[in-house]
């Protein structure tokens, strides 16, 4: 795909981000309220991708803000790295081979790498990199510039389960991830293990029956051409997802939410830590619901313009703990699970004094017992930077998606991604 065919404005526009209008939503976009009825622009019509691999789960962990890949997978012996990072450069990385080492706070992941369960995919990016958080994450969400209204996993859902199973895909976080947004499918979002149980006031009569009554605002066939109609449809699907979840989660109505309620510090916002979110993900995978896709969004604050020396190690530590606890909780059922990280971009190779500004190409992990560990892609050069002083990507990020779609979810990737991309041989089977 040539750089020109990346019509990102078009996708941004469809997501309500583009043009002069509505950046306001930030990560929370506006699609349904203006896009009108779903059009037939996606190539994958409901069901056309077949069923895909059964019984497997893909977990995507989105590191929000742009993770510093150079301080995550460290090019230990590259002189330019240490020149560009005189104060922030990692000098005590955990060596994985003669060239790269993991951040010292990723000790458990390093151990997993030794066991051959971690694939490291290097140099991921796309042409004409967008240094905007919102512009770049929209590219990662959509995976196909220009020709779809859906997120890449939404397109996968459109082509497989459609509206039939509201628990096939679950977003963990307060709001829905655009990556899961389909035109002919629905993804549930939950943020805590109470499983879509409201906290109703005591004065409500017959509270157990209230949500069933609420569900009746959604008739069997809703007219989704209006915003009210779309709300009706969402209410109906929510009530049905909630019923299924109630059978699945061990922590039913009235459960204490797993997030910190002290309203202090960075966790004042409802995003949970990666540890909490992945614990919930593990619970869902072990439950009868067993989703095909789990998308953990808005994890952490990886936008380390400042105080990176303090903040980034903490983020690495949480990621390490979260991934480790996740696979430990899954036990033997982890064989059916693959976890992959994504982020809108990496960070600038040269430090800015206390942190790093927005960058481009990045490195990501694919983790799980079924993964054939090792290094994939190609590390970008630290001596031939682009004119903004950023890394030049070596590998289209959609190769990562294509690998996950074909190698793990068992569907043809071109129909989802709009084009063919080389895949990495990182699955053992």
């Amino acid at each position: 795909m040539s750089p020109r065919s990346y019509s990102r404005r078009d996708f941004l526009g469809r997501l309500g981000l583009g043009g002069a209008a509505a950046i306001a939503g930030g990560y929370g976009l506006s699609v349904w309220e203006w896009a009108g009825p779903a059009s037939a622009t996606t190539t994958a019509a409901a069901g056309t991708l077949g069923d895909g691999a059964k019984g497997r789960t893909l977990v995507i962990v989105e590191l929000a803000g742009g993770n510093d890949g150079l301080n995550t997978v460290v090019p230990m012996n590259v002189g330019a790295y240490h020149d560009l990072r005189p104060t922030l450069g990692i000098t005590d990385a955990l060596p994985l081979d003669a060239e790269i080492g993991l951040h010292p706070k990723l000790a458990k992941l390093a151990k997993r790498f030794e066991q051959g369960q971690v694939a490291i995919v290097e140099g991921l990016g796309y042409p004409e990199p967008d240094l905007s958080h919102f512009g770049s994450i929209a590219i990662w969400w959509s995976a196909r510039g220009g020709s779809g209204q859906a997120g890449w996993l939404g397109a996968y859902l459109d082509g497989t389960v459609g509206f039939d199973d509201p628990l096939a895909a679950i977003g963990i976080g307060p709001g829905p991830s655009p990556a899961l947004l389909g035109t002919k499918s629905f993804a549930t979002t939950i943020a805590d293990s109470s499983g879509l149980q409201p906290r109703l006031p005591a004065w409500l009569d017959r509270p157990d029956d209230l949500l069933a009554a609420w569900g009746k605002v959604a008739p069997a066939r809703t007219d989704a051409s209006t915003l009210v109609g779309q709300v009706r449809r969402s209410v109906g699907l929510t009530v049905s997802a909630r019923k299924d979840l109630a059978k699945s989660l061990v922590n039913p109505a009235g459960a204490t939410p797993s997030y910190d309620t002290s309203a202090t510090g960075r966790r004042a916002y409802a995003d949970t830590s990666v540890v909490d979110s992945l614990a919930l993900a593990a619970e869902l995978i072990r439950s009868p619901a067993k989703p095909r896709v789990i998308y953990v969004s808005g994890i952490g604050d990886f936008d380390t313009h400042q105080a990176e020396a303090q903040r980034h190690p903490e983020l690495m530590s949480q990621l390490d703990e979260g991934i480790d606890a996740f696979f430990a909780a899954l036990g033997g059922s982890g064989d059916d699970v693959v976890l992959a990280t994504v982020s809108e971009f990496g960070r600038r190779p040269v430090e800015n004094g206390g942190g790093t500004d927005h960058g481009t190409a990045n490195v990501h992990f694919v983790v799980g017992p079924s993964v054939k560990g090792g290094r994939f892609g190609e590390p970008p050069s630290l001596t031939s930077l682009d004119r903004t002083g950023n890394l030049v990507h070596t590998t289209d990020f959609r190769s990562l998606y294509a690998t996950l779609l074909e190698g793990w979810l068992g569907v043809e990737s071109a129909a989802v991604l709009g084009d063919d991309f080389p895949t990495f041989p990182l699955f053992a089977h």
Partner: protein, 431 residues
């Protein structure tokens, strides 16, 4: 569409609530527009305590009293459009206490936003760029000559002025950031506080330190000069994209649908002549599109508007938010409306990121839909509302309600359940 629904549309778009009592007293769309624009009432003054002695003397959670105060202004201030604009600018110049930490700085920023909300955009932009909370939030505080930090520079161009795709380049981001360098905040209790005071910055104030400023020549958006912060902002304000982007964003906030290129250009270029915010608001409200059928119910109602609207529907005369109300004594666990807003991910002063609060389908996830019920905890007892279904919906500012929704309400006898289901109706989920 009924005239009453149209009148209610005008009121809910140009305010932050449903205001059923105001809607009931209006008999035409023109009267409604005149009412929402009326700024003759006394402007609310943000209650701000004495400056804390140090950053550690206050906890971030203390911002809840200001959140409660603010929500009560949305409920009761007679200056309707002002409340909509205060929210709009908070969302536009999104700043979170999660990073800023000091409630005092958030209160100061809120006072600055209120002072300019219905005033002049250029003055607001200049004030926000030097605002201590913003300097902390987007790292202006750490932006110095030789150590240029691009955080504020990029978001200023991308989110606050020209907009994504507005015609600036990465080079402009760097040059703007150089021009913005040198501003610091005197945070008492932190290193350098005493030195900054000696430089002339009292505690909690910001100041430009010449030694930290990059005084060299910059070329920003085609203008070459030794620009400083104010100079760079003026260059950015001189770009046609700035007026058009901000005008289109406010248009979308008020009309609910995107402005076409013609409207964005017309409104934006007029806006850029004097940066009068109320001039722009009046032009948007006068546009046919504002009261057109496609504008009505084209926005997802935010959780904050939902909360304010349902408090108004229940006829509460004060706004005991229960934000930190501890219900443990009654065996319900510690839970308040703050918890409900947190669960939904929508707390004033805590935007999820610099892009502001979610909107549209970003608010229609199952988790958010279900936990909107939690907002009903704002009432200690079932609110006393009319038995008649039409009269009940009128309390929520809803007049044209579908048969399907009415059937759900009519099937219920218990007044509390009728109120709860009306509050969670699809019609009330949009605005």
């Amino acid at each position: 569409m009924s005239r009453r629904e149209q009148i209610s549309h005008v009121v809910r778009r140009a305010s932050m609530g449903a205001h059923p009592d105001i809607v009931a007293g209006l008999d035409s769309v023109d009267a409604a527009i005149a009412r929402v624009l009326d700024l003759s009432g006394t402007p609310p003054q943000v209650p701000i305590g004495a400056p804390p002695a140090s950053i550690d003397a206050q906890r971030p959670v203390e911002i809840v009293s200001t959140i409660g105060w603010w929500l009560d202004q949305m409920r009761a201030s007679p200056r309707l459009i002002e409340e909509r604009l205060v929210w709009f600018w908070h969302d536009h110049f999104a700043t979170s206490i999660a990073k800023v930490r000091a409630p005092y700085l958030m209160q100061q920023q809120h006072a600055t936003v209120r002072a300019h909300a219905t005033g002049n955009f250029a003055e607001l932009l200049h004030a926000i760029a030097k605002d201590p909370a913003m300097l902390v939030y987007l790292d202006g505080n750490g932006n110095a000559v030789g150590k240029v930090n691009e955080n504020f520079g990029r978001e200023c161009l991308e989110l606050f002025t020209m907009g994504i795709g507005g015609g600036y380049t990465q080079h402009d981001v760097v040059e703007a950031s150089r021009a913005f360098s040198g501003w610091v905040v005197n945070v008492p209790g932190r290193r350098y506080s005493a030195r900054l005071e000696a430089f002339g910055a009292p505690p909690w104030h910001s100041i430009a330190i010449p030694q930290r400023h990059d005084s060299g020549s910059k070329t920003l958006l085609g203008t070459t000069a030794a620009l400083d912060l104010d100079g760079a902002l003026d260059v950015i304000l001189g770009q046609p994209a700035t007026g058009r982007f901000v005008a289109a964003k406010l248009y979308r906030e008020l009309v609910g649908i995107a402005a076409d290129d013609e409207a964005a250009t017309r409104l934006g270029d007029a806006f850029a002549r004097d940066w009068s915010i109320m001039g722009l608001v009046e032009a948007i409200l006068a546009d046919q599109a504002f009261t057109s059928p496609s504008a009505v119910r084209s926005r997802v109602r935010t959780p904050v508007e939902k909360l304010v609207g349902l408090v108004q529907a229940g006829g509460a005369t004060s706004f005991d938010l229960g934000i930190v109300r501890n219900r443990a004594a009654r065996g319900q666990g510690a839970f308040g409306i703050g918890e409900a807003l947190r669960s939904i991910g929508f707390i004033p002063f805590v935007p999820p990121n610099v892009g502001g609060f979610p909107g549209g389908s970003g608010l229609l996830g199952p988790h958010q839909l279900v936990h909107a019920f939690d907002l009903l905890q704002v009432f200690d007892a079932a609110p006393v509302v009319p038995d008649d279904t039409d009269a009940l919906f009128a309390r929520f500012g809803l007049f044209d309600v579908s048969r399907g929704t009415r059937r759900v309400i009519d099937a219920e006898d218990d007044p509390g359940r009728r109120f709860a289901l009306a509050a969670m109706s699809p019609e009330f989920a949009v605005a």
